[in-house]
Symmetry: C2
């Protein structure tokens, strides 16, 4: 019989009060000192419980003021997106990549603005098709800040992914992304072996390192064979999430 930690009793108390409606969104919950007295524990223990719930997004705190119940999650959900090669391999399938294009471009005004570079600055461009058991599963179109990724053109991206390389030369500090459904152009349609009316699932991502924008990428996936998925567990232990293509 492993007994629950003390802080868990406090977590349970707060959570069950929220679930029962005793504490509503915006309500102030008892202070650390009050909880510590109530549960006969040290303040640090109450602090740990509250901090855990802040981590989960259940509560938020204001210094000098108190701890408050955050807005309900409703069905807030997380999608976790990992690299395509990991994904394919984790399914036990064979992964392969084919480099279609790999060379240098010079910034047009729009690219220049996006990367925060001067017009005409060099940017590497790569187009790579990723396969899962011989079936094309992703078309990658990537632009890379040349000044932040020396040696990019010399890599063999059929054995190491662009992401793996970029992670080594420029640790990421920020990512922005967008998932959309799109109509493929002719080239995408050919590369992914798409049906006549088949849409694509597009993930567009922009990545910063400490020194600036490192890379922008469009990842196109066949709508009929690929999706982002995952799950969330609440109330029990905690959240969690994975990603899956199909």
């Amino acid at each position: 019989m492993t007994s629950k930690p003390e802080y868990q009793r406090i977590i349970d108390f707060v959570v069950s009060n929220i679930e029962s409606g005793g504490f509503k969104a915006g309500d102030k919950i008892p202070s650390e000192n009050e909880l510590a007295q109530e549960f006969d524990v040290a303040r640090m223990t109450a602090n740990r419980a509250i901090k855990e719930l802040v981590h989960r997004g259940v509560l938020h705190r204001v210094k000098g003021s108190g701890s408050f119940v955050s807005n309900q999650h409703y069905d807030q959900t997380l999608v976790q997106i990992s690299s395509i090669s990991d994904l394919v391999r984790s399914k036990g399938a064979h992964y392969a990549a084919k480099v279609m294009q790999l060379d240098t471009l010079y910034c047009d005004p729009s690219l220049a603005e996006s990367f925060g570079l001067a017009e005409g600055s060099p940017v590497y461009f790569a187009e790579i098709v990723h396969f899962e058991d011989r079936l094309p599963i992703q078309l990658e179109r990537r632009w890379v800040n040349a000044s932040l990724a020396q040696g990019f053109l010399d890599q063999d991206f059929s054995t190491k992914t662009t992401t793996e390389f970029l992670m080594e030369v420029a640790p990421l500090s920020r990512v922005e992304y967008r998932i959309a459904a799109a109509t493929p152009d002719r080239e995408i349609k050919a590369a992914l072996d798409l049906g006549e009316m088949e849409p694509v699932l597009r993930l567009r991502r922009k990545t910063w390192s400490f020194s600036g924008v490192v890379t922008e990428v469009d990842l196109y996936h066949p709508g009929s064979r690929f999706s982002f998925s995952g799950y969330n567990d609440f109330s029990i232990g905690d959240k969690s999430g994975f990603q899956q293509g199909r």
Copy 2:
């Protein structure tokens, strides 16, 4: 000059050692006691730093054994999906909903299996179109476990969302979801006022409460006007995420 907390110095130490390659994935890092001595702080302070990095997924710990560097995230990314009415309102736009259908079905074999119910069990079905400033932005097709959501048919879902109602009667414990690009059927095309070749972005979600499957829903969005997006910050403070339609 607000000085950094002590535990932040330890976090920085570990992170920079990982980024510089000093600590590699799988490596054991110094123990709490060693770190505490090294930085001349109490063990609890070192513990806090390490716990923070465990929360971020940078490290993992094994009781009795040590703390280890986890596999690199690469560009793991989070998408946070919130409710459509919150989303529209948070953009300052006008939100409206139109209930197209709201009645009772009886489970066919496939529905029965999904809900864990007997064939022929009653299930509520709702079809609702959500508008952002008069423009259709989401078609919701929802199936609801009748035994877990009494009063569902009596609600006015043009003023309160299905999700809000369900959250009240059956607190969620688990969510599964899948994002895909799809070709709309005729009905979806009409409801969302789609162009001829326009694909839809579909979010399919299945939600459990403690007592079983509560609801399954397909949310269809115009590919040309809607996407899921967000961002992640690393290394600085931490992660974060929002969702946005456009």
